[in-house]
Amino acid sequence: MTRIAILGAGTAGTIMANRLAKRYRRELARGELGITVVDQDNRHIYQPGLLFVPFGIYDETDLVKPRCRQLDERVDYVVGAIDRVEPDADLVHLVDGRSFAYDALIVATGVTTAPEETEGMTGPGWRERVFDFYTLEGATALRGALERFEGGRLVVNITDMPIKCPVAPLEFAFLADWYFTRRGIRDRVDIAFVTPLDSAFTKPICARELTHFLREKRIELVTEFNTGSVDGAAGRLVSFDEREVPFDLLVTVPLHAGAQWVGRSEGLGDDLRFVRVNQRTLQSERKSNIFALGDASNVPTSKAGSVAHFQAEVLEENVARFLDGKPLRADFDGHANCFIETGFGKALLIDFNYDVQPLPGRFPIPHIGPLRLLEESRLNHWGKLAFRWIYWNLLLPGHDMPLVSARMSMRGKHGFNEQETPAAEPATA
């Protein structure tokens, strides 16, 4: 029997499991193939919704469902913490002593935040005046703190890159501007956005647009700030080169790292425990029967659900090709697609890949839309809210998205990057 193991039942792992279960329905029915999915718990969190929790728009009941219910019933679901993978023995070991063998392994254990890696971050004031919103606990605690906040200096900070959904901290700052305006105390609140990057975002055209929004919303921008330590008692953020940013309330995005077990698995991950893969085929650089997708991999594109979805289309094909002994297809182009909430019921939409930065235009139907790229609109905001339904009902079950293909399309986009042209047809690996 052919055994496929999938580690992680978040966005990427769930989509992969469901796509493979459909593809191999006959083999599964005949008992010729088995798909096992492992995760450490049974709570699937709709992570894009975490941004809205501090502002009282969503709460826990809107965001959490059992992982097992999102998985095709032909998939075996195992709850257990992973200890390590032995690449040369094709074995997964669980912390409780169980282990199992695989013919193909798909790593989808995502990333976690590591606030304890930054000096003082989890010290005095943690979850009192120093908050994260990338965890449900943090986002929920922050909601109370925002409700109690009557004025002062709010600092939104990115500790280090890469992070999941790199636009979320900006969205948080935009929404805070809207939230305090609605409460009638915006003039008593200073908002600062503090980032290690040299501008508001990594991609130039998009960064220009976003800087314009920051200015319009009177949000101070502090760049090239590499957070060295947090002093929650004194309300100070200190950089490695000893610059200081004072705060009354700090909303930080802690350092991100891959799952702990990756660090215990020989040769699999890089120094932040991201699994090293070929960025076009998603095959591990350590062993040919290991693959990774979603936030867990080290590919240089956004860590976002849309990326996991686009990767899943490519990886489903490549896992099948690998099992059939055929050459892999080098088809993943780094495609990402994100809504950026800008507050007051509006949002931007961006669409980009490894080679092409976010450009203005219309999406998903070229020249028609109805969504506008890199331009603020109410429809984009409704798109973002509607996405929660799409996530549970279309994305996780592994359906292809209507009108949106895995490969990014240049149609309907205006202007090319200055020094780059869209990638040529990639060769087969």
Binding site: D241, D270, L272, A336
Partner: protein, 105 residues
């Protein structure tokens, strides 16, 4: 791809002046590149970081992050910022003649 002329040699660099072919690098070049970014003297501590960057890049294909540098190069993060002000990982990579560390998107 742009080329620059340094110490009478044609070098392939990206838009920000990072060498694209690590094999074109040598220690005299490192001194020149360091000067161009405002570091007038390379001490033993600088060299320790530069060689660590190079070795890591050449053996793994990617440059170490600032955190890894701080943990494993033998020079802690505070000192790294003193040696290579503003962006140690970026500056050290430039002087070490390896491509710009993959940023983050």
């Amino acid at each position: 791809m742009t080329t620059i002329r340094l110490l009478d040699r044609e070098l392939e660099v990206d838009a920000e002046g990072f060498l694209q072919k690590p094999e074109q690098w040598n220690e005299e070049l490192a001194v020149e590149i360091a000067r161009s970014v405002g570091i007038t003297e390379l001490t033993d501590r600088h060299w320790k970081v530069i060689m660590f960057m190079r070795d890591t890049y050449l053996s793994t294909g990617s440059a170490p992050s600032i955190r890894t540098l701080g943990k494993t190069s033998g020079v802690d993060v505070k000192e790294l910022y003193k040696l290579f002000p503003k962006g140690p990982a970026k500056l050290a990579a430039k002087i070490a003649g390896i491509p710009k560390p993959k940023g983050c998107i």
